[in-house]
Amino acid sequence: MRVRPAFLSIFLAAAAPAAQPADSPAPGEWAVYPGSYNSQRFSSLKQVTPANAARLEVKWVYHVPGSLELEMTPVVKDGVMYIAQFNRVDAIDAVTGNVIWRYQRPPASNAAYRGTSVYAGKVFVATTDNHLVALDARNGAVVWDVPTASGRRLSGAPPFAAKGKVVVGILDQPDGFIEAYDAATGRHAWTWHAIPRPEDPEYKTWSGYTKEGGGAVWISGSFDPEQNAIIWGTGQPNPPYSNEVREGDNLYSDTIAAIDIDTGKLKWHFQTTPHDQHDWDAASGSKVLFDAVYEGKPRKLLIQADRNGFLYLLDRTNGQFLRGQSFIDDMNWATGLSAEGRPILKGDGAKPSLKGTLTCPSTAGATNWPSATYSQVTHWLYIHAIEGCGVNFRSSSTPGAGTSYIESPDDKTKWVSHIRAIDPLTGKRIWDVTEVRSNHYGPGLLSTATGLLFAPEQFGYITMRDARTGKDLWHFNTGDFITASPITYQLNGQQYFAIASGTNIFVFGLKHGGKGGAK
C-alpha cells in the first residue's frame, strides 16, 4: 500500500513530535535497534509507573504477513514504526497500527532479521541478493541501493546508523566482518575483518588454520560518541567445537571490539572466550555502556553478560578488564577469571567428546542476543539468564570432526530461564525470577525512569515488573513465542510499549493514557 505524499505530510505534522537532531536517538523515540547508542535500553518516559501499570492494555496488534517467529525489534521515529525483514520494510502509524507504506523486494523472505535504524530520513535494509538499500522514511522510495562491498550477503544484524555511517555485519561462511557505508550515498567506507589474513600478526593465534574462519557478526552492538567507536561483538571460531586444528586464542573470534567509526581501525579488543570450543559467540550479549564511580574514580564502563556465563566489566576507553564473575549457578567449564579476564579452565574446559560432555552453560548460552537493560534509576543490570547444561559431543576423534550438542537430558540440569537483577559494579545478584516453562533464548528487556522493567518471557507472557523488587505488576499472554526485544516510545501524550511475538507486533499503553489515536 502506498500513501500519497500530501496525506503523509499532513499526518507527520499532526502526529510527529518536534524534530530531533538526526544524530542521536531522541527521548520518546526508539530510532536504533538498542534504543540509544549506549544499549542501556533505558527510557526516560514516565507516564507508566508501578502505581498505574495495572491499567495497561493492548492498543493494537499488527500482523506481519508471511513472517515466521519474528526475532525483530521495531524502531519508531517521527510517529512511524518500521518493521524490517530481509528485502522488506513495513512502515506503520505508531499510534494506530495503520499501514503507511510497505517496501517488498522480491522474493519474500522469512530468514531471521532483527531490525533496522531510522537515520537522517532513511531506513536501511539488507537484501537476500547481497545489497544494502536505503529507503526514504516518508514513503519507502529507494534512495540508494548498493551491492555489498564484499559481494557477500549481510547478516540479519540490524543495520546500525550513527555519525553518518550505516554499519552492518556479515554472517556467511567462512569469515565474519563488519562493513560501513556512507548513510547519505551508500558509498562503502570501510571493512573490518574479524579473522586475520596470513600477513596479519593475529594469524599466529590460529596455528595456521583459518580456512573455516568464524567470527560471524550476526547482531549489532553499541556506539560510543566519546571514543568515536562502535563497540560490537564477534562469533565463535570454526570448526565450532572440534578445536584441535586451530590451536591458539583465535583472534578476533568471540571478541568485544571497539572500532573507529570513521576509519574502521580497531582501537581495542577484549576476547571473552579465547580458543572457544562451545560456540559462545561474544556477539550475543548486549554491550551496555554506562558511567559510574568504580573503586573511587569516575569511569567510562562497559558491562556484558556473555553467552559463556561470565559477566564482564570493562573500561570502555581501552578495553581493560576490571572485574568479572559467573552470573549463573551452574558453571562447569571454568573456575573463574584471571586478573586479565581470561577464563581459568576447569580441567580441559568441558571439551566435547565422543560419548558427550556435560557443559554448563550450554551452547545455547547462559544468555543470548535478547537484550539486557541497565536502569539509571536502580543502577542495576537486568538480564535473561539460562541455568542448566548441554551435552556437547563429536562424531569421531579425527581432528576437525563433526560435532553437535543437545539439552542435558537430566532434570537437574535441564534449561531454565531466569530474569535477574545484578549490580554491575559488584556482580551481586539483587533479585531473581524463575520463568515458567521458558528454557532458552527468550525475549529482551527494557527499563524506564519510573522504575519499571518490561520483562516478557519466551512462552508469550508479557510482564511489567517493579525493577527494584521483581514483583509483577501486570501481565498479558500473547499466545505465541517471544524471541525479540521490546521498545517504548511516546506519541500524543501516550507512552507505548511494543514487542514482536510470533508473527505479530503487540503494542500496549495505559487505558485513557493519551489524547489521540486508539483509546
Binding site: P106, A111, G356, W369, E407, D411, H440
Partner: protein
Amino acid sequence: MKRLALILAGIAFPAAAQPTLVEQGKAVYDRVCTACHGANGGAGDRAPAIVLAGASGALRGERSQAQLVAIVRDGIPGTGMPAWKGRLSDDDIDHIGAYIGALRGTALDNPMRGDPVKGQAVFWGKGGCSSCHMINGRGSAVGPDLGNIAATRKTTAIHDALTKDRHGVFGDGGVHLPMIPPMNYEPVTVVTKAGKTVEGVMRNQDHWSVQMVDMSGMLHSFDRAALRDFTIRPGSVMPSDYDKRLSGEEFADLMAFLTRQGIKPKSGDDE
C-alpha cells in the same frame, strides 16, 4: 547420559535409509549445518528447525528426499539457506539428505512386524492403555491421544515410551525445541486452599495459573493464589514395563498396532 544414548540410537539408525549413509550424513551435517539449524535439526540461533513442530510445512518433512537434496545443493533464494554445491561434494550433499530424511522419518515409515489386530486387543484389554489414552475417540482423555502417534513419533520413541523410565518426545529430533501445546504430561498434585486435593497430569502453567487434567480426564484451571500446594513430580504416570507385563508376542503385536496408527501427510502440501 543414558537418554542421550537412546536419542542418538533413535536418530542414527532409523528405518529405510542405510545406516552408513545416515551416519556419514550426520557427520557432514554436524560439521556444516548445526551452527545455523542446531543439533538434530532442532533450530539454532540463526536458522529455523527443519524437523518437528517449530518448522513450517515446507521444512517439517513434507519434502521428498530428492527435494531435500536439491535444497541443500541449490539453497533457497530469499532465505539464509546457501547453496552447498561446489562447497561440499555431491556425495556429502546426498548424505545430508539421507540424514535429514532419517531425522524426519516416523513409525508409519517403519511399522513393526507382528499382528496389529491382536495388538489392538491388547491395547483395549490386557494393556490397559485406554485407561489414559484415546484412539479414534474411544478411551480416556488423561494422556495424549494416540490416533496419529505413528505419524508423529519414531518407532524407537514408541518403544521407549512402553519400556523406559525416561522417554521424551524431544528425542525425536528438535531436542530443545519448545512446544506449544506442551507435551510433557508430568504427574501433579494440587491442594486448594479449601482443602480439595486433585491428582492428575499437567497441561500448562504460567506465573499466575495452572491447567491440569485429573485422572478422570476432566480439565481444571486454577488460580495459583487459590492453591495451598502444587507439586509436579518427575517422571510419568505411564507404566514403563510393558515388555515385562506383556508376553513377547503380545508386546510385538501392540507395537505392530501402535506403529500403524496415523495418517501420512500428503507430500508437497504446504501451509
